[in-house]
Structure formats: C-alpha cells, structure tokens
C-alpha cells in the first residue's frame, strides 16, 4: 500500500510507519526456510485428517460437485449416524457399532492379561533367573520379528483344536501371545533399573516370589504400566490381520468392519459415510495419543529400543 502511495505522488506514507531497531532479527532467511519446510510437512501430515473430518460432514451432492479442499456448507451429522448404525459391512447393515464393541471386548482383556503376564515375566527374568530363562527371553525377542504369516496357519489349527476359533477368545489369546515379547522387554528393563537392595531386603525379611511382586514391585511400576497400556491399547485396536483371520464373521473388530464398509463394491460408495466410519475407527487411538501426550512418545521409544 505504501508503494502505491509513493507512486501516485502522494505523501510518503511509509515514513510514518513505526520504525526502529528490531529486538532481534527473527525472520532471517535461514529461519524462514526452516519454518517453511516444517509448515510444509505439517500440512502434508494434517491434510488427510482435514479431508477425513470435512468429508464426513458433507452431503453426497456436496462431495460430487464440490472440492476435496472445501469446508462443508453446514455441519451434517447424517453420515456419522449412518456409519455408526446402518452402514453395510458385508452381509449385515448394522453400522460400525457392533465392531466397536467387539474391539472393546478384545482390547480390554488382552491388554490386561498380556501386561500382567509380561510384568511377571520381566520380574522373574530380572530377579529370579533360572537356567535357560535368558535363552527363552532371547528367542522371544527374536520371535517377535518373525512375520505373522509364518505362524498364522498353525495358530488357526491350535485355536480350532481349542474350540475358540471364530470367537473373541481366539483374538484375545493371539494378541496376548504377540504382545508378550515387547512388553516383557519393557518390564525386564524397568525392573532391572530398580535398586536391587530393595529386593534383597525383602528376601532377607522372608518375603517370597509373589509377595515381593505384589507388595514391592507392582506399586513401584506405575509409570511402566501406563506406557505398556498405551502401547497395547493402540496396537490391539489398530490390528487388522488377527481380527480378520481369528474373529469369524460375527465378531469382527472395528478395523475389519471399516475395511468391509469401504471396500465392498456394491452400489455407489457413500464417501461421507466411509469417512465418518474412518474417523470413528481412528478416534480411540487418537484420543489415547492426545491424552497421553509425551507418554505415548516414551512408549513408542521404549518399544523401539532393544535391551
């Protein structure tokens, strides 16, 4: 604006603008490059979330004639209601809600059981070593890198023999098994970092295996429990393969139902319903992620670092 003013010959406006030494040059070329790059990446990461949420609020005509960038004309919850109650997943049209409850029924017990078993294993591995315990642990950690496909069919046969194939119990069992390596590693490393004197003192006082575990180790391990909880809830909730294979048609978890809703090729796809269903499925891990904040990062890092 000031340049046009000078060009037309009017009084130089620019000189009246407040001028003076800047406190510290913030907008150096380097800084601008830095923040531009970061913002560019941030947009790449945020774009799908925006598309997901905005599409889910649109009506079908609005999607067909509008742009993917456009905000919805008005917030319309129809797609959400439909995704939750009446979208078709294969043969049934009850929406995602059965899948949601199946996922809850799978996640809660397998999280609790796997964490409990892993905590005891970690404790035994640190304080009550026996011949072969380290070998078993090493195989466990190596085993966790084996692709699931290698063990899938024998596990189908085992669960069939146990009479739980196609039931929620099978999925719970499988998640408990495959959660064991990483969680045992977490707990082993945590218990190893606790002062050994504590354990020794309890031994001298005559406390046994379980008493030391329940009265000394457990109360001290709240932080690692939270980390394990985050890892397991997000991991189990997001699983697709085990749910698809072991749950059977009547007990599908939410991710499997979601994939069926979107990728079943019958009729015209309702994109708004699909996106509402996608947001709904992502909601639980996203809530865990945002609520736990730095703990999630710690969990991810702890899960990644090998002992």
């Amino acid at each position: 604006m000031s340049t046009t003013a000078t060009m037309t010959g009017a009084a130089p406006v620019s000189s009246t603008e407040p001028r003076g030494p800047k406190p510290k040059p913030f907008f150096t070329p380097k800084k601008i490059m830095l923040y531009t790059t970061l913002v560019f990446f941030a947009l790449y990461f945020l774009f799908p979330l925006y598309v997901m949420v905005s599409t889910s609020f649109k009506t079908m005509p609005e999607i067909r004639f509008g742009s993917i960038f456009a905000l919805p004309n008005q917030i319309n919850f129809d797609a959400w209601v439909s995704a939750w109650t009446s979208a078709c997943t294969g043969l049934t049209c009850n929406g995602l809600s059965p899948g949601f409850w199946n996922s809850v029924k799978i996640t809660v017990p397998s999280t609790i059981v796997s964490i409990f078993i892993a905590a005891i294993n970690g404790y035994a591995l640190v304080n009550w070593r026996f011949k072969g315990s380290e070998i078993f642990f090493s195989i466990l950690i190596f085993g966790s890198f084996i692709p699931y496909q290698v063990m899938l069919y024998p596990l189908v046969m085992i669960t069939r023999e146990l009479g739980i194939f196609g039931k929620l119990e099978a999925v719970i069992l499988i998640h408990t098994i495959f959660g064991m390596p990483i969680l045992t590693l977490l707990f082993r490393n945590y218990f190893a970092s606790l002062p050994q004197e504590l354990f020794k003192a309890a031994r001298v006082d005559g406390a046994g295996f379980w008493r030391i575990f329940f009265e000394i180790m457990l109360p001290m391990s709240l932080p690692i429990f939270v980390v394990a909880l985050i890892l397991q809830i997000t991991g189990i909730w997001n699983d697709f393969l085990f749910g698809a294979v072991f749950a059977g048609t009547h007990n599908q978890p939410m991710t499997v139902q979601l994939n069926n809703i979107v990728n079943s090729a019958q009729g015209t796809p309702e994109y708004n319903v699909n996106m509402a269903a996608t947001v709904l499925t992502g909601l639980v891990p996203l809530i865990v992620y945002f609520v736990s904040g730095k703990l999630f990062v710690r969990g991810v890092a702890a899960g990644a670092v090998k002992g």
Partner: protein, 313 residues
C-alpha cells in the same frame, strides 16, 4: 543371588526329597511357574509353529495340511508364479524407497526439530499422530484423497489445471508410489522421534568442538553426528525393515493389490493362498520365504549388536 532356593508357604507342604534332579526342578519353582506362559509361547508359537510351517512347505497340501512330501516342488512353483514374482519385486521396490525415504526424511525432520524451534511439541504432535492410527485408516484416507475423480486430481482440475494428473492409485506403473505416500505419512513421524532422541543424545561438547574447528553445520551432521547415532540408526533400520516385510494391511486398505496384480505383496500372497486360495503348501512355501528375508535383515543386526560387544568393551 537368585540361586538360593526359596521355600514359599505352598512349597513347604510337600516334603523335599534329597535328589539332584528334583532339587534343580524345585529351585525357583514359582519363577518357573510364572514364566510358563512365556516358555509356552516360545516353544509352541515361535519355535513350533515356525517349524510346522517350514515342514508343510515341503508337502503338496491343498485345502488341508495333510499332503505328502514333495521336496522343493512348492518353491519351484512359487518362483514360476508371476503373481509371486511381482509381489517380491513390488516389495523390494517399495521397501528400498520406503526405507531410504523414511530414514532421510526422518533424519531431516529431526534435524529441523533440533534447531531450538518454537512450537516444537505442536510440530511433533502433528508429525507423529498418523503413527497412532491403524494402517486400515491410513489406507482408506489416502484411497479417498487419491480418488481420481473426486480426490486431489479432481479438485486441482476444478481449480483450472485441466491436465493435472494424480491417478497413481489406478495406474499400474505408479501404484507403488501411491503406497509410498501413505506409508511415509504413517511412518516418518516415528522415525523422526527416534532420530530426535538420537540427536539429543549427542554430547554438546562435540558441537562446540566442531564449531571451533570451523566445520560447517551440515558437515558436522553427516560426518560426526550421524556416525555417533549408529545405535539409533541400526534400530531404525531393523524396525522399518521388518515392518516392510510385513506390509499387508496398508495394501489391503489402499489398493487391495490392484489395479490387476500390480501392487500385490508377499504377505498378501500368503494370506490369500492360506484362506481363499486353498493351497496350504504354496502358502507355507511363500511364508518360509518371508521368514528367510527377515532372517537376512536380522542376522547382521544380531551380529553387530551381540557379536561385536566383546570387542567394543
């Protein structure tokens, strides 16, 4: 220290017989009982099921695993199947691109985040949140964005770029790049977090010394800091690598192997032959090949991590 046999209340009931075998067994009995789930998992699942799969890869099992021994027939057939060969090529192409780009972008973002920037935690939150989501969710969102008529391509054409093409998802030549975009979106944040932890672990003195010596910043990163982060790098490579071999959910959600068979991957080949193709022997041979590829990633890592330890200390 833990070798002292402990007598808990329950144990005290049965009378201890002085016998060496019995003594070894009784030693640490509660710990052994507590470790039973782990021992069972190791023996039955990780060892037993793997051996079972390898064994049946040498049989001609069809719908049920009851075939007779046929040697390497299944492997011969596997490598003569175009779908398998395409799957392997796809995985190698995708894997190479994904590994390199995840590491490079992860490192680049970590370096940028390490410049004492404002809103660091906001940027980190934005970059990591896709990692919390399911591959199915990731795949479906990108499927929608890359929808040729209604997604990004359509939107750009409406804005006036009539020739803008972004049809990678339906283009057999480009579909792997579509997978890559979604895969990177999901995984780069995690790599960035790992790398950032590595960068923060580098001693501040190193930076001061490099500055005194007048070494340019980028040079310090590449020649000094990066080699110092060896541990983090190896961890990242192993995790990303074994994740790539497992690539399955994302393909199912984003392309379902299509168009045609142009985005098939080995993990999907195994599952399809196992449950809908009704050819157990073939699925097991393919699964064994997956196992071997993970071993190829794991063995050098195990050697570096455990074999080299004696020399370093």
């Amino acid at each position: 220290m833990a070798d002292i046999a402990v007598q808990t209340a329950e144990e005290g009931r049965d009378v201890a017989r002085p016998g060496l075998l019995r003594k070894t067994f009784r030693k640490n009995l509660p710990a052994k009982i507590a470790a039973l789930p782990m021992i069972a998992t190791v023996l039955v699942v990780f060892v037993g099921c793997t051996i079972w799969t390898i064994y049946y890869s040498f049989t001609n099992s069809k719908l049920l695993p009851t075939g007779k021994f046929v040697g390497f027939d299944q492997y011969d057939r596997l490598f003569a199947t175009s779908r398998w060969n395409i799957s392997v090529t796809n995985l190698m192409t995708y894997g190479a691109m994904s590994l390199v780009l995840t590491l490079v972008l992860g490192f680049l973002l970590a370096v940028l985040m390490d410049q004492k920037i404002r809103f660091e935690s906001a940027f980190r939150t934005i970059m990591l949140y896709p990692f919390a989501l399911s591959f199915i969710v990731t795949g479906l969102v990108w499927q929608w964005i890359m929808n040729p008529t209604l997604g990004l391509q359509g939107a750009m054409r409406d804005l006036g770029w009539a020739n803008f093409t972004f049809d990678w998802i339906s283009n057999p030549r480009m579909v792997l790049f579509a997978l890559l975009i979604a895969g990177l979106w999901q995984g780069v944040g995690f790599c960035m977090v790992l790398m950032l932890a590595g960068l923060r672990g580098v001693d501040e003195e190193i930076w001061k010394a490099a500055r005194v010596d007048g070494i340019p910043t980028w040079r310090t990163y590449i020649s000094i800091v990066l080699p110092m982060m060896r541990g983090v790098l190896v961890t990242a490579v192993v995790l990303i690598g074994s994740g790539i071999v497992r690539l399955y959910d994302l393909v199912v959600a984003l392309t379902n192997g299509g168009p045609g068979i142009s985005s098939e991957v080995p993990a999907k080949y195994v599952v399809n032959y196992m449950f809908s193709g009704g050819n157990i022997g073939q699925a097991m041979a393919a699964a064994t090949m997956m196992l071997i590829s993970v071993m190829i990633i794991m063995i050098p890592w195990a050697y570096l991590e455990f074999g080299g330890k004696g020399k370093r200390t």
